[in-house]
């Protein structure tokens, strides 16, 4: 009996080995910052074979303040990219054929912060200040200040790299940056910070989004669906097991501090799963409100509409299945 069972197992094994192996499709994701645990969902999907299950082999291109994440995707160096929602709107208004397929951060992680000792608590405190900006935060700053009725000459802007050293010695009192990034590191180092959240002042921007080209959406919808499905499953893994997923970050950059990365991931997850809307979902009104604010701010000059900048079909398909 045992022998017979064993033989059967061997035959099944041999048969399964004879199945033709489907080659994995190579996919590149352009990130908008250096490796950090905020991208934990993508790392989890890569490390735990979620991409492979969708027939994908994903490689990552890191980004920085100096790298525009849109162009590599438009040029075909990457199939997908991560960028702030307003960057996708700006690209779209310049005629670049990109669309968001998933909103990663339901609230923008961009905040204004300063050392507690300066007593800067409200947007009106920003007048007369030197404010640090970067390409990914400047739109948000303009939107908030213009929304609050401030003139552009009532404060000065300074472009600085996002580093602790620049924060302490760079000459800017107020900083605009991701709440999931530098501010986490500063608090980790023991600095007491005051925050001003744009959300509190009528500026409700989406944060990072996953985008791709219209051509890929049209010609390779299965590729997009597979990528979106695996990536969001990766973020679900992060919600379930923050420590494991956080530790994957070290695989991509061994120099990183694990404790800090866990804090960064922890601070990112609430922006992704807010509890009020499905993870990744996008609302046309929300996009339209962003476009309107950016138009007022002069970033968008064309007659851009919400439906031009995002495509909800993949998220809707997943939501209909009861995911994510």
């Amino acid at each position: 009996m045992k022998v017979r069972f064993f033989s059967l197992a061997v035959i099944l094994l041999v048969l399964s080995a004879c199945q033709p192996v489907q080659p994995l499709t190579q996919v590149t994701l352009q990130l908008n910052r250096a490796h950090n645990s905020g991208y934990g969902g993508f790392y989890a999907a890569d490390q735990e074979g979620l991409y492979a299950r969708q027939g994908l082999a994903v490689s990552f291109l890191t980004g920085s303040a100096d790298v525009d994440p849109i162009l590599p995707v438009v040029n075909g160096e990457a199939q997908f990219g991560i960028a702030p929602a307003e960057a996708v709107i700006a690209a779209r208004s310049q005629g670049l054929p990109v669309k968001a397929v998933v909103v990663l951060h339901q609230h923008s992680p961009v905040v204004f912060f300063s050392l507690n000792e300066y007593g800067i608590d409200h947007p009106e405190d920003l007048t007369g200040q030197t404010i640090r900006v970067s390409s990914s935060t400047v739109s948000m700053l303009h939107a908030v200040l213009s929304h609050m009725g401030f003139e552009p000459d009532s404060y000065s802007e300074l472009v600085l790299p996002a580093s602790v050293d620049a924060f302490l010695h760079g000459g800017a009192v107020v900083w605009t940056a991701y709440s999931t990034d530098l501010s986490v590191e500063l608090e980790f180092l023991g600095y007491d910070l005051n925050y001003i959240y744009p959300d509190d002042y009528g500026v409700h921007f989406y944060g990072d989004v996953i985008f791709t080209t219209e051509e890929i959406i049209e010609n390779q919808p299965d590729l997009v669906e597979g990528f979106v499905r695996a990536s969001l499953a990766g973020y679900r893994r992060a919600l379930q097991d923050l420590e494991t997923v956080g530790s994957y970050t070290i695989e991509y950059d061994p120099e990183l501090d694990l404790d800090l990365q866990l804090l960064i991931l922890q601070s990112s997850l609430p922006l992704i799963n807010t509890g009020t809307v499905p993870v990744g979902s996008m609302q046309a009104e929300h996009w339209q409100a962003m476009i309107d604010i950016l138009r007022d701010d002069g970033v968008v000059e064309t007659s851009l509409q919400a439906e031009d900048v995002f495509d909800n079909q993949f998220i809707e398909a997943l939501t209909a299945e009861g995911q994510p």
Partner: protein
Amino acid sequence: MKQGGLNSIRGQGALYFGLFTVVLIFLVSIPIFLYGQDLIQNTVASDLLAVSLEKKEQIMAWFDESISDLENLASIYSVVIFVERANVSAPEEQNGLYQQAIDQISGWAGEDRFFSTLFLIDAETGQIMASTQAEDVGKFREDQSFFQEGLTGAYIQAPAYSMETGTAQILAGAPVRDSSGQTIAVLAAQLNLARITEITQRHIFSRETGDAFLLNQANLPITQPRFIASDAVMQRGIFTEAANLCVSGHTGSTLADDYRGVPSIISYTWLPGYGICLINKIDQYEAYQPIIKYGMLMAVLTVIALGVGLLISTVFTRRVALPITRLAAAAEKIGDGDLNTRVIVEKPYEVAVTAGAFNQMAAALQQRMDDLSAMFGIVEVLSGELDERHLLNHLIHRLKQIVGVDAVLWSVYDPKKKDLTITVHTGISEEVLRRVKAAMSDESRSGATLLNGKPQVLNTVDSIQGGLKDIFQKEGIRSIAAIPVITGAHVWGALRIGSYQKDYFTQERVDLMMAVGRHLALALERISLYKTSQENEERFKRLSQATFETVVITDAGVIVDHNEQFRTLLKGYKGSPIGKKIINFVHPDDRPLVIEKMNSDDEQPYEIRGLRSDGSVFIAEIKGRLIDFGGRKLRMAAVRDITDWKHKEDELRQARNGLELEINERTKELRRKEAILKSLLNTMSESAVLVGLDGTIQGANDLAAKRLGVSNDDILGKNLFKVLNSDVTKDRLRKIRSIIRTGVSVRFVEEHEGHIVDHQFSPVLGADGKVEAIAMFGMDITDAKQAERELYSSRQMLRLVLDAIPQRVFWKDRQLNYLGFNQAFVKAMKIQNPDELIGKDDAQLVHWMNTEYFQQDDREVMESGQQRPVREEHLIADDGSSIWQRSSKAPLFDQDGNVIGVLGTNEDITGKKLAEEQLKQTMEDLAQSNAELEQFAYVASHDLQEPLRMVTSYLQLIERRYKNKLDDEADEFIGFAVDGAMRMKGLINDLLIYSRVSTRGKEFEPTDIRKVVKRVLHDLSLQIEETNALIEVERLPKVIADETQLGQVFQNLISNALKFHGDAPVEVHIGARREKHEWIFWVRDNGIGIEPQYFERIFVIFQRLHARGDYPGTGIGLAIVKKIIERHGGRIWLESQPGYGSTFYFSLPERGTAK
């Protein structure tokens, strides 16, 4: 096979009995166990669900109560009134009114209340206008559903994450409606989650593994799950089966893994309308504890039953197994050779039958053993004998003795001659023998018997026809048999056997006889072969003795024969070499070779070293061959002694090798020396060239080749003079050539292409003292020259610097003697010739009271090896006066880091020190005087108040009582007196306030200037309204200060700005900026301005620039301001131009360093 274990009857009995017991217990206990488990599971699940439903009711009741309370708060009359007023008020008043509205109900918010925060939101913009949490004011909530829904009715928003607090929050909103029912604001609240957490965790936490928590619709915990160590609220997703069922709107219970993956009993309850799921759970392990205990009891019972069963089965099986064991013991004895053993067993029946069969088997075995031993006796006879006749005789007698036959004869039949020969016999008379022979020769019986190899048996002679029958009967022989003796096709003869018994030849006996016949045949063949080999050996021996060469024959390495020459070769070997191993005569080193050759078919000659009996060695050439010697494989070797020939050959070879070795050694030595020389030359930092007398370069190092611009490979053989010709003057070339004649070295330094090279040409003398060659050495001294120049210039620079600085600088060696100093030092020492100082010590140069102090200081610096911090020293000058100097010292090190001396600097600070002392004294006097003055002012103003009040009261009494009763002049005088008294009262009050700045000041603490200004503006709101002033306030910082006094500062400055205005609309601008270590504040107006000459005066107490009638006031305001600012360690000043307004600035040191 093992006797015990499960294979024994006892083991099998125990096994089956045990199995029966276990199965029986299992059949009874497992259904009970499963039933019990099911019962517990249902009970626990129902219990959990009941608890869940109860909690659900409580949570929903709590929500209902919260929302109802919020609605009630939103409809409180005073709240509505304040909001209504705020909505119709000017913007600057709105905030205050909204805040007053929230103040009416702020008691409802707090840690132990339904609401943690209450706030009012503008119905149109969604902006928070007032809140119990001040920092929320000004923020917008226009996109939140609690606001949007709260405009029309009370609403609770689903739990969500708060970015600001980093945790869960549940927000609710309710409309604030005016009397017409229109929504004029939304009263919103953040619900206090402490209560909901307490309800959730009730009951269940008494269980060791119990847990209860709430999830929102995105599977995020709203309350902390018990077994997640880190903060999980709104940060971890729980996606278990139960959680997924629950958030999709289901209520029930299930057996599933919890968030730790532990099997649990879980109840889940969905709270419709609030987007909340309640999970209650307990580990299955804990829930099933009662039934697990029952299971343990069953297990114990099973073990006991098993033990009892085994005992019973052992007793029963022992009775069956005992006779079988005896049977086994008997079998074992037989196995050991005791064939007489028998077993008596009566019961059980089956075993008794087995024992009978066993006894029969033992008897049969005994018979077999007898036959076998007879056979062994015969074989013994057959194996040892080499003489045929002896053998046969011995055999037939043994047959008679051992087997018990009565007559035996051996006949040989010759088929060619058809003749039967009887060689040996026993038990047969001569007559019978004769008759048998005659009878057998007539017929073919014997031949046939012999040829077909089969025995012929007659168990009764009665059947024999003819005369033989009578003869046999007469002899008493009753049965006969003929046994053929054959090997292969060769017939040796036949054994004929007779017995006195009839039917003697049973099949077993015939088989035994046949076996004897086969053994006899083999023995006869062996004897025949032996005879043949004896003959062959004899022939070979004769042949080998006849040859001249040494011949040795071995069998498996043992010498079986040799000729006489072998003895000669061994030189007097005593005894016979035969039987010895051949390798005993071989040198030990060559034995492996000999063994190898003997085991191979190789017949090629080979050389070995042989050993003689006297221990001497000979060299032999061996030619070996395998020979077949009567079926034996023997090795024959021809041995030739080649010792002499070999010795000669070796001598010749050695002579040649010695010669070659010597040549090689010498060549190597030469090459080594050449390499050393070459590498030595290349390690030199100088270029080196060896030139023959005709100028041919005979040797050069790499540097030389480089300098001469020739490649390394080409340099040898070139003519140096030609190479140098382009670079060196003819005069120098001539000098170089002159070395050949004079034998004197030539040297010159030359600068070429930026390099300075020191050339030296020297003669190389031969053994006869004559110049044989010229050696040229060149050293690049560019760096050395450069360093020399730099050193000179840096020393010059150092000297200039030292002499230029005003401080005195000196340095000493380890013995503390002066080595050097700058001009300032020389000047201080008042010495004409500075060189006199060098080598002297402090004992010779400074006041004797300072000598030990300086030297001790020097020694400490040198010992510590570190620079001494700058310090001020109080010393005695040479003239005995007291002086101050500031000095520092540092150790001096050599290149290896050893301290070699000390470097000191100092300067005379006596003048500065005296000035400082004087200043300090003045400051102390001033402070003392100020303190006394302040105390005086305070006491004076305070004590003056009482008599003044009396004067004023009575003057006013006189005025009321006697006005218009005296003459007009008296009325006027009384008026003047009252006015004077009133003014004096004002002045004294001001003076009191002024003095209190120092005496009644509060501790400095963090002060938000923004709030201070806000409050001042509020206090001045009437004045602002009257003047219709436009007030602009920039961003203001938090500082460490006396909040009340800074309020006075701003009150005075802003009030002045509002007061001293011109015709233009009043504009006041308040701001601050940060500079280095202080904050600069300013209050700017567009008022009447001040003439620069009054900039100081305005800060003096009771100084006024305007008539009292033009602008009211006593003129103390700015004096108080100045005093407050000075108390804070700051300054006050102004910029102003008459007609264009004034800006008052004041500074406050950062972080409250001022006192």
